[in-house]
């Protein structure tokens, strides 16, 4: 699973930075996930009394109302990767402090229902993971063997999802103002990489440094860094207007 913290399978992208070893430990983080290639398990009772009902309800609200997510869903559909809630999202219990992840091997976003605190957190995790999914859809991202590719997607996800907003950093007791956003993006990208790759912090930092200039300035599909919902709505408006835009410049 590629992406922000919350990894499963051979190379997830993690949703919330948390160091994780490679596949065997990723399996421990996502105990409900089967080993790669095996079908997920589930009893008859779970079909009638889903333990993930709260997670599913929050997810549904996010998909229907959050402007970051609505833009990402439109952009993915435009790129040929229409997102289906039942197919592409899975609410599961995860070990540790992981919030979610993107599994490129199954094209599925995992939401760690035991670690997602509230609706706002759900929206941010879904945004983060959809950015990984968007990258997977539009580019040949080598999640599993190219740490620079993983670093790039993690930089983008930390930059564009609201992970590094001033408010979120203050809640983490990380106080800084001038260009602190970039420091946060670098740090969280490194942590996300370490969560899914058994590499040294120095190697992860080097990968982030090499790709940072390019990937920090890659704002697709937003066209800007969406600092809050107003920016996300403006970005969505611009995306919906793109035909008129490109035909008149």
């Amino acid at each position: 699973m590629a992406g922000a913290r919350g990894e499963r399978g051979p190379g997830p992208a993690a949703g919330e930075p948390q160091p994780q070893p490679q596949q065997p430990d990723a399996c421990r983080v996502f105990p409900e996930r089967p080993a790669q290639g095996k079908p997920p398990q589930g009893g008859l009772l779970s079909r009638f009394f889903p333990s993930d009902q709260k997670c599913q309800l929050m997810l549904l609200k996010t998909l229907e109302t959050n402007p970051y997510v609505k833009l990402l869903l439109d952009a993915m559909e435009h790129s040929g990767c229409a997102v289906n809630r039942e197919r592409h999202f899975s609410c599961e219990d995860c070990s540790g402090n992981v919030s979610g992840g993107f599994d490129a091997s199954t094209s599925q976003i995992v939401l760690c229902q035991n670690n997602i605190r509230n609706q706002a957190h759900m929206s941010r995790v879904v945004t983060h993971e959809l950015i990984h999914a968007f990258d997977h859809c539009r580019a040949h991202v080598d999640w599993f063997t190219n740490v620079r590719h993983l670093a790039c997607s993690e930089v983008r996800a930390a930059n564009l999802s609201g992970d590094c907003s001033l408010v979120n950093e203050i809640f983490r007791l990380h106080f800084g103002l001038k260009q602190h956003h970039q420091t946060c993006v670098r740090d969280r990208a490194i942590l996300s990489i370490l969560a899914v790759r058994n590499i040294s912090k120095e190697v992860a930092r080097k990968a982030v440094d090499e790709v940072f200039e390019s990937c920090f300035n890659d704002h697709e599909p937003f066209g800007r860094i969406p600092h809050n919902k107003t920016y996300a709505r403006y970005a969505h408006r611009d995306f919906q207007n793109r035909d008129r835009y490109y035909s008149n410049i």
Binding site: R87, H140, D238, S247
Partner: protein, 106 residues
């Protein structure tokens, strides 16, 4: 750039006004400083808004040129960084395939 009578501003004039207002807001100053460490530059949005209105009022050719140049510069600025990965020509083939459990059920 589309020529002749089919051309219209790349964005509605209201969009230029909204971007200029957002750029000038205290909130945006804070966000921009937090990200870039400097104050934002909003003058180009004001010029684009003026050009848009000039074109709407009197179909000014100069305003059309100015708007096109401004927007092309924005597009160029967004594309100037080399990509880390190769873009796809088509989406992943397995994006919509059923999960292994679904295949087993079928």
């Amino acid at each position: 750039m589309a020529d002749g009578g089919d051309w219209r501003p790349p964005r509605p004039c209201e969009a230029y006004r909204a971007e200029w207002e957002l750029c000038r807001s205290a909130g945006h100053f804070l966000h921009h400083y937090y990200v870039h460490g400097e104050r934002p530059a909003c003058e180009q949005w004001r010029r684009d808004l003026a050009s848009c209105r000039a074109w709407e009022e009197r179909r000014s050719a100069g305003a059309q040129r100015s708007l096109c140049e401004s927007e092309r510069a924005r597009v160029e600025a967004a594309r100037k960084h080399a990509l880390v990965w190769a873009p796809r020509q088509s989406p992943p083939a397995d994006w919509q395939l059923p999960l292994p459990q679904e295949e087993k059920d079928q």
